[in-house]
């Protein structure tokens, strides 16, 4: 794999009333494991099912029911860990996190506090061509999701839907390496992209399948570097945790608001209180959910219903061997193999399906040109019409066929655009060569014919010829005239060449 080299982005600086401040951010991302069955039961994980229809006895915590680990979910977590270049712990264990809530039927969540399945890893968060933040991953553990409490269906009663109860989550914990709201959103975006490549989480934030808790603190410029040098958190400010955000936009807004709130407190001579906060997107502000004193005592202890989870290196190796190419590697390869810009490579690798589409178009063709067409014409049009590469009217094969016509000089770029339009609309599914022929799209490459046209234009415009000889830039006028005279079918490159020659430029 070809590694691209990056420079770290500048940390975001917020000017307070008195001085400048930097941000220090760490995230806990909860990603729903893509799996048909729950972490400890065979119940379905289908979204949007009838309330309380995807509930096994163990999910409802019926007396005497016991959890049994779903091996597929473990494999998915391992795959995710490998995708984040993390160490896999061959021995991990489950703990119970105890608290009371109606959507938590057992009265505890089975999680992994003491011995997570995945250890330290890292994520390269792209912040623009040549710029990226390296965010260290502290750990990933697997745990059960809770159900859903519904308080707005009845004035006096609350309702509980246990469909989500027991669904497998991966909690991905970062180090406090993120230095601004945009980086935080980009970090979540990168995790999402990697997991979608891996097929370990669908990344659907709207359905709550990807949520983030964000830890935010502020510090004076220079303090973060002291923390980095010593590992001493004392150099950083007191952090607040903003819980459960499921939109990139809200994550950025919440961090921005929270940082300014903390700056105002500190500049006023106050102290930031460590607490858990919630972001209210309607008001655009965070508010206190519970203070450190009110924090739950979760009484973690090893879950006695489950033996320690032991996996074998060979099993991990099999998973590693089945890993797809990941975004960073693909991007580097696109830049290297196709000679495209990092920017274009970023666009093309954003979604694995897009990258695959591009590669089908580019196979055996000019990669740069393929990239231009895919990004500018195809993606532009798809975006405009709310379509995706899965629903595109013009297939990769058709687009490739079109590029072949251009490469052979059969059609001009201008014709290709018209041809693309036809394939998109009235000639759906048609063979590009046949459609071009049918609509008389044929570029004139016969130099004899072009020469005659050039001669004709030169002969008819002696005054212009004199001017062009004095100022060669005016040759373009002749080219335009020739193209016009040939109905746009003359190969522009050939016309250029002949005009220059005939005018003696």
């Amino acid at each position: 794999m070809l590694d691209l080299t990056y420079e770290a982005p500048k940390p975001k600086v917020i000017s307070g009333a008195k001085e400048d401040w930097e941000l220090v951010i760490g995230l806990e991302v909860h990603a729903q494991v893509a799996s048909n069955a729950k972490l400890f039961s065979g119940a379905s994980t289908t979204f949007g099912a009838e309330p309380n229809s995807n509930v096994a006895f163990v999910d409802a915590a019926m007396p005497g029911m016991l959890p049994v680990i779903n091996e597929y979910c473990v494999a998915q977590a391992v795959k995710t860990g490998l995708g984040l270049k993390a160490g896999i712990n061959l021995r991990s264990a489950f703990d119970r996190k105890n608290y009371f809530y109606p959507d938590l039927p057992q009265g505890y969540q089975i999680s992994q506090l003491y011995h997570p399945i995945v250890g330290e890893g890292e994520v390269i968060v792209d912040m623009g061509p040549g710029i990226a933040r390296r965010v260290r991953i502290e750990r990933i553990h697997i745990e059960q999701d809770a159900g859903k409490s519904i308080h707005d269906l009845d004035p006096t009663m609350s309702f509980v839907d246990l469909n989500r109860t027991g669904v497998a989550l991966m909690e991905i914990v970062s180090r406090p390496d993120i230095r601004g709201p945009e980086e935080a959103a980009a970090y979540v975006g990168k995790l999402r992209q990697i997991m979608r490549y891996l097929g370990t989480c669908d990344g659907n934030m709207q359905n709550g399948n990807l949520r983030a808790d964000v830890n935010v603190s502020i510090c004076r410029p220079g303090d973060y570097e002291k923390y980095q040098a010593t590992g001493d958190f004392g150099h950083l400010g007191t952090r607040c945790e903003i819980k459960n955000m499921n939109s990139m936009r809200f994550i950025q807004q919440a961090i921005e608001y929270e940082a300014r709130r903390q700056i105002a407190i500190v500049e006023d001579g106050g102290k930031v209180v460590q607490e858990t906060r919630l972001y209210d997107p309607d008001k655009g502000e965070t508010r206190s959910m519970r203070s450190k004193e009110e924090a739950h005592d979760y009484r973690y202890f090893p879950c006695p219903d489950l033996l320690p989870l032991e996996i074998e290196q060979a099993w991990v190796d099999d998973i590693a061997a089945s890993m797809p190419e990941l975004p960073d590697a693909k991007k580097a390869r696109f830049v290297g193999d196709y000679g495209m810009t990092e920017y274009d490579a970023n666009v093309l690798t954003a979604e694995v399906e897009n990258a695959a589409f591009f590669e089908e178009v580019a196979k055996g063709r000019d990669g740069k040109q393929a990239a231009n067409w895919v990004i500018n014409e195809l993606f532009g049009r798809l975006n405009k019409e709310g379509l995706t590469v899965e629903t595109t009217p013009v297939s990769a094969a058709q687009l490739g066929g079109m590029l072949d016509l251009i490469a052979k000089g059969d059609i001009s770029g201008k014709m290709a655009k018209d041809l693309f339009e036809l394939l998109w609309t009235t000639e759906k599914g048609g063979d590009p060569a046949e459609v071009a022929a049918k609509h008389g799209m044929k570029q004139v490459t016969d130099t004899g014919a072009i020469e005659a046209a050039v001669d004709e234009v030169i002969a008819a415009n002696p005054a212009q010829v004199e001017k062009a000889k004095a100022n060669p830039k005016l040759a373009g006028w002749f080219v335009g005239q020739v193209l016009k005279a040939t109905g746009g079918k003359a190969n522009p490159a050939a016309v250029n060449e002949l005009v220059a020659k005939k005018l003696g430029l």
């Binding site: 006895f57 016991l66 009265g107 009484r299």
Partner: protein, 495 residues
């Protein structure tokens, strides 16, 4: 002639196979004995219809010549086991009216073997207690009495209903569960045999959890052979319980050779407690002599961490219980308190659990919550875990030194009077478990066998502790002890 309900499982099995008796007849004999034994309060839910249906089915199977050992044998099931469509309340008000839609693995295996369920048996609430007095149904009563004294005695706990029912011949055998001695102590108090198998031998699936790392099901029977037969039907690997061992189930009955020549029996010096009654001392010495006479070698051994077992147990068990019982919150099933104006979810939890749980359960939930709390976790729970590991190592060491089984008293006393401990410190009640909890902490098999009577005519039992997964060998030692002791006393019927 022995009445049908007084038969052992082995005798009944043989008669069933020979066609000398039908399961229907055995079942009717037991049902009528149960109806006449209301004073024992052993059965808390009778299931005569299920019993008669299963007996008829068993008779068909026997006729067809396809009869596993337990086929047609009437048994009682401890209320801790979930039984489909039948109240399963763990003797707690918080599970009032709860009828599961599933059958515990152990009781299902008994059903599959053709056993006939007569009903559900009394117990301490959530299996927390040593006297059956914490049951929401009121205590079961020991069929034994002291001499001519009419005072009602405890059958022990928590499997007190099972012990009372087997000792009083209301059924041929019963299921029990044992977290700290809940099979062995009541067995000893009622003159029957009870074995707690190795942790992981029986599936815990469908058994209401008390302390998951300690709970094990086991049979309570009239003799050792019956224990071997019934255990064989109850145990085996269950993929639904992650802690269930994937090991083959040997023929435990076949292990009862009566030959223990050359076996090494360990006598742990730390089990000689201060103030141990002479009668218990003598019982233990007699048992030791019996095994020696049978050709075993008696070895003085040390299990140095024994004295820490009880405190460690009373940290680990309540800690797990506090978490296991969190699900009884009034939200989905069982009891829910009536709420007042303005009451919210917190009040619902508090009132429901205050009303639904008895005092002992509340005490243990509070102890467990405390020992797991931030700041106390290391001092209590973690330390108890370390002690547990040391206790386990004590046993591993003596077994590695060639000890085949360990002989100890089963209980520090004979059955005590109901209500006698009402004013006592709860710790005094917890001392009942002093000889039994080590076995649970170490996950080992342990069996209680009656070997004598105290001077008031109450049964006393000895405990044998075996190597992990060697229940067959353990039961063989118990079988030798049983034959040598020749324990034949029966409680005089007063109920």
């Amino acid at each position: 002639m022995t009445k049908l309900n007084e038969l052992t499982i082995a005798a009944a099995r043989d008669m069933l196979r020979k066609g000398e008796v039908t399961s229907a007849e055995l079942t009717e004999a037991c049902l009528s004995a149960i109806d006449g034994a209301g004073a024992l309060n052993a059965f808390v839910h009778k299931t005569p219809e299920i019993a008669r249906d299963r007996a008829a089915a068993a008779d068909q199977r026997i006729k067809a010549g396809e009869a596993p050992a337990m086929c047609g044998i009437p048994v009682g099931i401890k209320d801790l086991f979930c039984t489909r469509g039948v109240p399963s309340q763990a003797a707690s008000n918080i599970l009032k009216g709860f009828k599961p839609e599933y059958e515990s693995t152990v009781s299902q295996q008994l059903v599959d073997a053709g056993a006939v369920m007569l009903g559900k048996l009394n117990m301490d609430e959530f299996a927390m207690g040593s006297s059956n007095e914490t049951s929401c149904y009121g205590n079961a009563v020991n069929p034994w009495r002291r001499g001519n004294d009419d005072a009602a005695l405890t059958p022990g706990g928590s499997s007190g209903g099972s012990a009372s029912a087997v000792a009083a011949d209301l059924c041929l055998g019963a299921t029990g569960t044992d977290t700290g001695g809940s099979i062995r102590q009541p067995a000893a108090f009622t003159g029957i045999t009870g074995i707690k198998p190795t942790y992981g031998r029986c599936s815990r699936w469908g058994i209401v959890a008390f302390a998951s790392s300690l709970d094990q099901a086991g049979p309570m029977t009239k003799d050792v052979r019956d224990a071997a037969i019934m255990l064989g039907a109850m145990c085996g690997h269950d993929p639904k319980d992650s802690t269930s061992a994937d090991l083959p189930v040997p023929d435990f009955e076949a292990a009862l050779t009566g030959d223990i020549r050359g076996k090494k029996i360990g006598i742990p010096r730390e089990y000689r407690m201060d103030g141990m009654p002479d009668e218990i001392e003598k019982l233990w010495a007699d048992g030791t002599a019996m095994l020696k006479d049978a050709g075993a070698e008696i070895v003085d051994i040390s299990l140095p961490h024994t004295k820490y077992a009880l405190p460690a147990y009373y940290v680990v068990a309540p800690a797990e219980a506090s978490s296991n019982l969190a699900r009884y919150d009034g939200v989905r099933y069982g009891h829910r308190a009536k709420l007042g104006q303005g009451d919210g979810i917190t009040e619902m939890y508090e009132k429901t659990r205050a009303e639904g749980f008895g005092h002992e359960v509340q005490r243990r939930v509070m102890i467990g919550t405390y020992v797991l709390s931030a700041g106390f976790y290391d001092a209590y729970y973690n330390r108890a875990r370390k002690v547990r590991a040391l206790i386990k190592r004590d046993f591993e060491t003596v077994f590695a030194d060639g000890i085949d089984a360990i002989l100890t008293p089963a209980t520090p006393s004979a059955a005590f009077g109901l209500g006698e401990m009402a004013e006592a410190d709860p710790i005094a009640m917890y001392l009942n478990d002093v000889f039994t909890v080590t076995v649970n902490l170490a996950g080992l098999p342990g069996v209680a066998v009656p070997t004598g009577l105290d001077r008031q005519g109450l049964p006393l039992g000895l405990q044998l502790i075996g190597r992990p997964w060697e229940e067959g060998a353990l039961l063989n030692h118990a079988y030798v002890l049983e034959r040598a002791a020749g324990f034949v006393a029966r409680p005089a019927k007063w109920w």
